[in-house]
């Protein structure tokens, strides 16, 4: 009879607990728990993204230096690869891009990693036709603590997450 008793017990347990799930608690997530590190991650993401995603077609080498200063090796490699793909277009169109961070949310914070959602506005001016456009985007930013400083580790389209 115990198998039947067990079946009844399991059925009641599943029925009573199955529909009660609410917001998933993440007690290991230190976002806003560690206020200082949360603020530090937000400040780093804001300043680093504004710097590495802003560039002038005649000063791409300066941009490369900023990327090295603000990113991990992983990020530097990814950024360099992406820049190389559009370098010709940037030069031909005489682009100047100014990136402004308009919102930062912290999704996850650990001892040496952080994951943030960032809203960006990018103002692109083309020198070849004197046109300026402004586009908004949302990116997911991963930071990594390197030598006690937050560095960009990856930047990806938030819609692709």
């Amino acid at each position: 009879m115990w198998p039947r008793t067990l079946t009844g017990a399991l059925a009641a347990f599943v029925l009573l607990t199955g529909g009660s799930a609410s917001a998933e608690r993440q007690p290991d997530n230190l976002a806003f728990v560690d206020a200082a590190e949360t603020a530090s991650a937000v400040a780093t993401a804001s300043s680093a993204l504004s710097e590495v995603l802003s560039y002038h077609h005649e000063k791409l080498d300066e941009n490369a230096e900023l990327v090295k200063a603000n990113g991990t090796e992983r990020y530097v490699a990814a950024h360099t690869e992406q820049l190389d793909q559009v370098r010709t277009t940037i030069t031909r169109q005489q682009q100047e891009v100014v990136t402004t961070v308009v919102g930062v949310g912290v999704r996850d914070l650990r001892a040496d990693t952080a994951r943030l959602l960032v809203f960006l506005d990018q103002k692109t001016t083309r020198g070849d036709n004197n046109r300026t456009t402004v586009a908004g985007s949302a990116v997911v930013v991963e930071l990594r603590l390197v030598d006690k400083a937050w560095k960009l580790d990856s930047v990806s389209d938030a819609a692709a997450q």
């Binding site: 009879m1 039947r4 008793t5 067990l6 079946t7 009844g8 017990a9 399991l10 059925a11 009641a12 347990f13 029925l15 009573l16 607990t17 009660s20 609410s22 917001a23 998933e24 608690r25 993440q26 007690p27 997530n29 976002a31 806003f32 728990v33 402004t100 308009v102 919102g103 930062v104 949310g105 912290v106 999704r107 943030l116 959602l117 809203f119 506005d121 402004v134 586009a135 908004g136 949302a138 997911v140 938030a158 819609a159 997450q161």
Partner: protein
Amino acid sequence: MSEPGDRRETTEDREERRERTWLLAGALIGALAAGLLLAVFLVIGNAGAPSPGSRPATSSGSSIPPVVGVRDESLAAAEQAAVVLNTLDFRTVEQGLDAWEKIATTPLLEELRAKRAETAAEVQRARTATSAKVLSAAVAKIAIDNSGTEVLLLVEVTTTDAKGAATVTQVREKLGMLATGQGWQVTSRVVVEPAG
């Protein structure tokens, strides 16, 4: 004399009755176990979050800081609210607007009520139905007294016209969330357009 259908209990009947008894006993054990588990969850969980009808917790004896519940519950509520606030079908517009108002509180609630007729007329004129899903979200701010949060969300909105043609757009939103007697509710909503 016995009534039609009345009969003596057979061996099979007794066996069946015994099986039902064991099954019922199992269900009771399961229910008790589930109740105990839920009670434990509630005790742990309520250490960090405002419960409906009460002020947000600001301190507790639990090792989980109250801000954890505030962060995670307001985020979950904002994700659900963003879907509701971006969903409206011209065929069921009144129910849709009721759902909007149900998750909103002052001052957003007053704004929604003030624009209700205008919004309904607009959607019925356009004959569109929108649905939404949250692509990404994160908490941007938490009030120092844990009473409110600001949440960023990237929302994918699908607009379908009367002919069935669908258009998909991505919308950046900031929702202000407030702990109220009815749980976490939306107090403000801003669509973050690029500053041109």
